[in-house]
């Protein structure tokens, strides 16, 4: 069990630091119903461990983090930290934000002190502790700088110092590296792991939210994988590789591959594919047809020749899973590609599409769009049936809003509009908000 060969190689103690029990989270939807974003989440976090919550955008992992932080009340279920139930922001917890959330009008020093100031700690003590935290995180010399003078990596260090200075037991990190460029992010990860390994941070556990599979494997002792719509805990993967970990290590690669396969597996019992909802109320991602075509070409070309390993493809195309998965799943919905075991494979139609010229591509796309995307078919049918071949978009938006939030309805309608225009299956006039069949030919 004890594989972390460093100063922190204490095994998790028996009394857990965080207990999440049966948490469900709903958001109100347009029509009075509510949208379930987290469903039956139960987990425990011990001391001396780094745990990742891994999932795609919209799987509710950030909501869960905010529930644990006491920023968001759970609709159902209980959360306790160090044995005390969470009822609002607590002293034991500090959070690092994806957007850094620094106050631009405060200096680095003042930003770090803000949490202590709120606790009513005397200025001298505040000053001393802030300097120590700034020093620890490698920002000495920047105390009087303003955030807008710093690079993204530096800003996130300030965010980290601000969190550590209040001496929390639990450090929550909400996609802390995703707003940074690749190199900066890697440096910051390494520094964080070093500080953790050497036991220099005054915290006992880290809970990290991420959508980056490699980051999760690189950093955590345990990975909790979430499914989307609604967010459910689908797997718990212990990572026993010793630190520091090597991304090129075959065991590392295998683990990454396995997680890709797990995350692209079709949920049992769902026939409509990966998207939430079914039939015309399926929630669609707004992706440009050009992007879909480009992706098909990339998979069809060398070195993949129609079948690509997703982690490798993600590396080549420099895509995060939040970019990659929606494309792959849209192509799967359109029957132009298939996903299986962490691979993407072009279907016969998909291969044909790549070889066609522009007009024939549109024709093929139109066939698949109308046949396999129920909302597109529905709009086309309505337009065909009406004498004037015109229908207001609001009509379809209302239908969608019976099943999803206003924002999702907009997104879905935009997706279908964009695909329909590309396929020349129907036209849409932005100024009047009307769908019609009169394509300018």
């Amino acid at each position: 069990m004890d594989t972390n060969l460093n100063a922190r190689s204490l095994s998790p103690t028996s009394s857990p630091l965080v207990v999440v029990d049966g948490v469900r989270q709903r958001y109100p939807k347009g029509s009075g119903e509510s949208l379930l974003v987290l469903d039956g989440i139960s987990l425990k976090l011990g001391t001396n461990e780094i745990v990742s919550l891994l999932g795609r955008s919209g799987c509710g992992k950030s909501s869960l983090l905010r529930i644990i932080a006491g920023l968001l009340p759970a609709s159902e279920g209980k959360v306790s930290i160090a044995g005390r139930p969470v009822a609002g922001p607590a002293n034991d917890v500090a959070m690092v934000f994806q957007t850094f959330a620094l106050f631009p009008w405060l200096t680095v020093q003042e930003n770090v002190e803000i949490g202590l100031e709120a606790q009513g700690i005397a200025p001298a003590e505040r000053h001393r502790r802030a300097l120590a935290a700034i020093d620890l995180i490698g920002l000495d010399g920047y105390e009087s700088a303003y955030p807008k003078e710093l690079s993204g990596g530096m800003r996130q260090r300030v965010g980290l110092a601000r969190a550590l200075v209040v001496h929390p037991k639990l450090l929550l990190m909400d996609e802390p590296f995703s707003a940074l460029d690749v190199l900066t992010a890697e440096t910051l990860r390494t520094d964080l792991l070093d500080l953790w390994g050497e036991g220099r941070m005054p915290i006992s556990s880290i809970l990290l939210v991420t959508h980056n599979i490699e980051e999760a494997v690189l950093m955590s002792d345990r990975i909790l994988v979430f499914s989307s719509n609604p967010g459910r805990l689908v797997a718990e993967i212990p990572v026993t590789l010793p630190q520091p970990r090597n991304r090129l290590d075959p065991t590392f690669r295998q683990l990454v591959d396995d997680i890709y396969a797990l995350m692209t597996a079709r949920p049992a019992g769902k026939t409509s594919g990966a998207f939430a909802g079914s039939g015309i109320s399926m929630l669609l991602p707004h992706l440009s047809p050009n992007l879909l075509a480009g992706f098909l070409e990339a998979v069809a070309g060398e070195p993949y020749r129609g079948r690509a390993d997703l982690p490798a493809l993600a590396g080549t195309l420099q895509m995060e899973i939040d970019d990659l998965f929606p494309i792959a799943e849209t192509l799967q919905l359109l029957r132009l590609a298939e996903l299986a075991e962490g691979d993407i494979r072009l279907t016969e139609a998909g291969r044909r599409f790549v070889d066609l010229d522009s007009d024939d591509r549109k024709r093929l796309f139109a066939q698949h769009l109308l046949a396999y995307v129920p909302l597109a078919g529905h709009i086309k049918r309505v337009l065909d049936e009406r004498g004037a071949h015109r229908a207001p978009a609001s009509r379809f938006r209302d239908e969608l809003e019976d099943h999803m939030s206003e924002q999702f309805a907009d997104q879905t309608l935009q997706a279908v509009t964009s695909w329909g225009r590309y396929a020349e299956a129907f036209a849409y006039d932005e100024a009047t908000g009307v769908f019609s069949l009169d394509n300018p030919v």
């Binding site: 905010r66 932080a69 006491g70 920023l71 968001l72 009340p73 009822a87 609002g88 922001p89 500090a94 959070m95 934000f97 994806q98 957007t99 850094f100 959330a101 106050f103 631009p104 009008w105 405060l106 803000i114 949490g115 100031e117 709120a118 606790q119 009513g120 303003y146 955030p147 807008k148 003078e149 800003r155 601000r162 209040v166």
Partner: protein
């Protein structure tokens, strides 16, 4: 871009910018309720004021004279009135806007109230407030001072409150989360998060308010209500006396003094504060072009001034240390759903007040006014509306091409922009006598030639907003237009006019609002015994004020308010929304 220098970037254009207000066109229940309430309060105050006899004891004690030695003192007093009003406006903003942002029920009443109040012709207020304040302090000059300060306050407070309210409602969610997460008490949060975040918008609006305020300070120093004539020592009174005595040199001296005062205010206060406030901008990247001010640079370099800065910031830190830290409220997370019963009570209170206001109005109006009066006021209102519309159109025809020409030439724009802002701040009413002399000596028709005075001070808002818009117009789009060799008319229609439309609408809206207000002073002018009058609602209100005919004043103000609100809702807001949606670049 150099957003900070330019008004169009930040400020909430009057009458358009309310977060809730911008979303709707037609008055809802609260709009109407608030309108009735405000009119009712007017009626009540006017009723109470009618019987009052203002004691004249203090008037004679310190008469205004046209002695140039007094002029610096007068200028100082005028300026002090201005600052007293701005302090009152800031206090009002912090209290009322915060209340509106934090309490849903308060918001329902405060927002429409602000919206209507900023459309009410401020000079019309003067009638009641003078009598009211003089009655409050019968033995001293304080009453008249308060009336003047209150008049300036009413020209300044509303858009500042709007700006602050909007900032409070748009605090970035991540900073909101961070401050909740680190458990900042509401007091600490206010001074550490909300005020700094709101600072740039509030400072800009305060500056715009001050610019507008000079007009009203001049207008409110010397005023006659019925038998009461008040002349407070100040530039406005100096000017009034100079007009009465037909003293041209004295008028010119007033113009020069006012120019010096505005210049000093611009250089010593406006620019340093704008330069300083740059650090509160909520942008994570440093701007290439930051606002500069020589005074601010001097200040930062001086040793003594650095000490003062440190002292000020430690005082600010004390400010939020004085309130003991509140124990963190555990359940501060969920927005508590408001009780139904409390809502009903609230609604009932509003309805009762509206009922009271309606009763007051009918009581008041019934005594003296007939339907004929209402028709007359409305008819005159349309005359003034016609003037405003024609003049704004003319001013646009002149200033839009000039503004575009200047704005596309950055070297010229940086030099002209401060001048345009200076001109906007200069109280045009100081220049009125000069125009009146011209009209009298050439025997021009006052119905036509008094009208330009209405836009004399407000046309600059069009100019500097258009300059700002043209400066912000992207170079690549200009290059495209040049490459395709768009012909001149095509270039105006397809390229530059859509490009500057949001800025133009902001400017034209501000200008037209100001012109309505100015009509009360501009449609009636005198030079010694010669009196010029143009037929219009402004003249109607001015005459009623002089005659102490309160019912007609209330009627005139109500009609003017309705017309201004209607113009805003029916023309400017839809136009502004269209401009924002279609033509806002980036």
């Amino acid at each position: 871009m150099a957003k900070r220098n330019e008004p169009a970037g930040i400020p909430a254009p009057l009458g358009v910018a309310s977060a809730a207000g911008a979303a709707r066109l037609w008055p809802n229940f609260y709009d109407i309720a608030i309108f009735v309430l405000i009119a009712g309060v007017f009626a009540a105050v006017a009723h109470g004021a009618r019987g009052m006899v203002a004691p004249a004891a203090w008037l004679a004690s310190d008469p205004v004279t046209l002695d140039p030695a007094n002029l610096p003192d007068y200028a100082l007093r005028t300026t002090l009135r201005m600052f007293a009003a701005i302090a009152a406006s800031l206090l009002f903003t912090f209290v009322v806007a915060t209340l509106a942002a934090k309490s849903r029920r308060a918001e329902l009443v405060i927002l429409p109230a602000l919206d209507i109040l900023q459309s009410v012709p401020v000079l019309g207020f003067l009638t009641f407030t003078v009598v009211f304040f003089v009655g409050l302090f019968p033995q001293s000059q304080l009453g008249a001072e308060c009336a003047a300060i209150f008049a300036i306050f009413t020209s300044q407070a509303w858009n500042m409150a709007f700006s602050f309210y909007q900032s409070l409602r748009t605090v970035p969610p991540d900073l909101d989360e961070a401050s909740r997460h680190f458990r900042l008490s509401p007091w600490l949060r206010f001074w550490r998060l909300e005020v700094p975040f709101a600072a740039p918008g509030l400072i800009w609006n305060t500056m715009m308010s001050m610019s507008g305020g000079w007009f009203f300070v001049v207008a409110s120093e010397a005023i006659t209500v019925g038998d009461t004539t008040i002349k407070l020592p100040g530039i406005g009174s100096w000017l009034a006396l100079a007009i009465a005595e037909r003293n041209v040199p004295a008028v010119l001296m007033a113009v020069a003094t006012m120019g010096a005062v505005i210049l000093a205010y611009d250089q010593l206060l406006f620019r340093p504060i704008v330069a300083w406030a740059d650090k509160f901008r909520f942008e994570q990247t440093a701007a290439q072009q930051r606002p500069r001010s020589w005074v601010y640079n001097l200040w930062r370099r001086g040793r003594l001034t650095q000490r003062l800065t440190m002292l000020a910031s430690s005082l600010y830190a004390r400010l939020y240390a004085v309130v003991p830290r509140r124990a963190p409220t555990p359940q501060s997370v969920a927005p508590v759903s408001a009780g139904r019963a409390a809502d009903m009570v609230w609604l009932a209170v509003v309805l009762v007040l509206v009922g009271w206001a309606l009763w007051r109005i009918t009581l008041f109006v019934d005594q003296t006014l007939s339907f004929h009066d209402v028709a007359e006021a409305i008819g005159l209102g349309f005359l003034t509306l016609l003037r405003v519309a024609v003049l704004i159109a003319l001013a646009s025809l002149v200033w839009v091409p000039i503004g575009v020409w200047i704005g596309l030439r950055p070297a010229i724009a940086t030099r002209v922009q401060p001048v345009a802002q200076f001109l906007a701040a200069f109280p045009a009413n100081v220049l009125f006598p000069i125009a009146v002399v011209a009209i009298v000596s050439w025997k021009l028709d006052p119905d036509i030639w008094l009208s330009p005075l209405m836009v004399l001070g407000t046309q600059w808002y069009i100019l500097f907003n258009v300059i700002a818009g043209a400066s912000a117009f992207p170079t690549d789009m200009r290059e495209v237009a040049t490459l395709f060799r768009l012909r001149s008319w095509q270039w105006w229609r397809k390229v530059i006019i859509p490009g500057i439309l949001p800025y133009y609408v902001t400017g034209a809206l501000t200008a037209s609002g100001g012109s309505w207000n100015a009509s009360i002073v501009a449609e009636v002018a005198s030079w010694g015994d010669t009196r010029l009058e143009a037929a219009g609602l402004g003249a109607y209100i001015a005459q009623a004020t002089e005659a102490g005919d309160f019912p007609r004043v209330v009627l005139g103000i109500a009609v003017m308010s309705i017309m201004v609100v209607a113009c805003n809702r029916l023309i400017w807001r839809p136009l502004y929304r269209l401009a924002e949606k279609r033509f806002r670049l980036n």
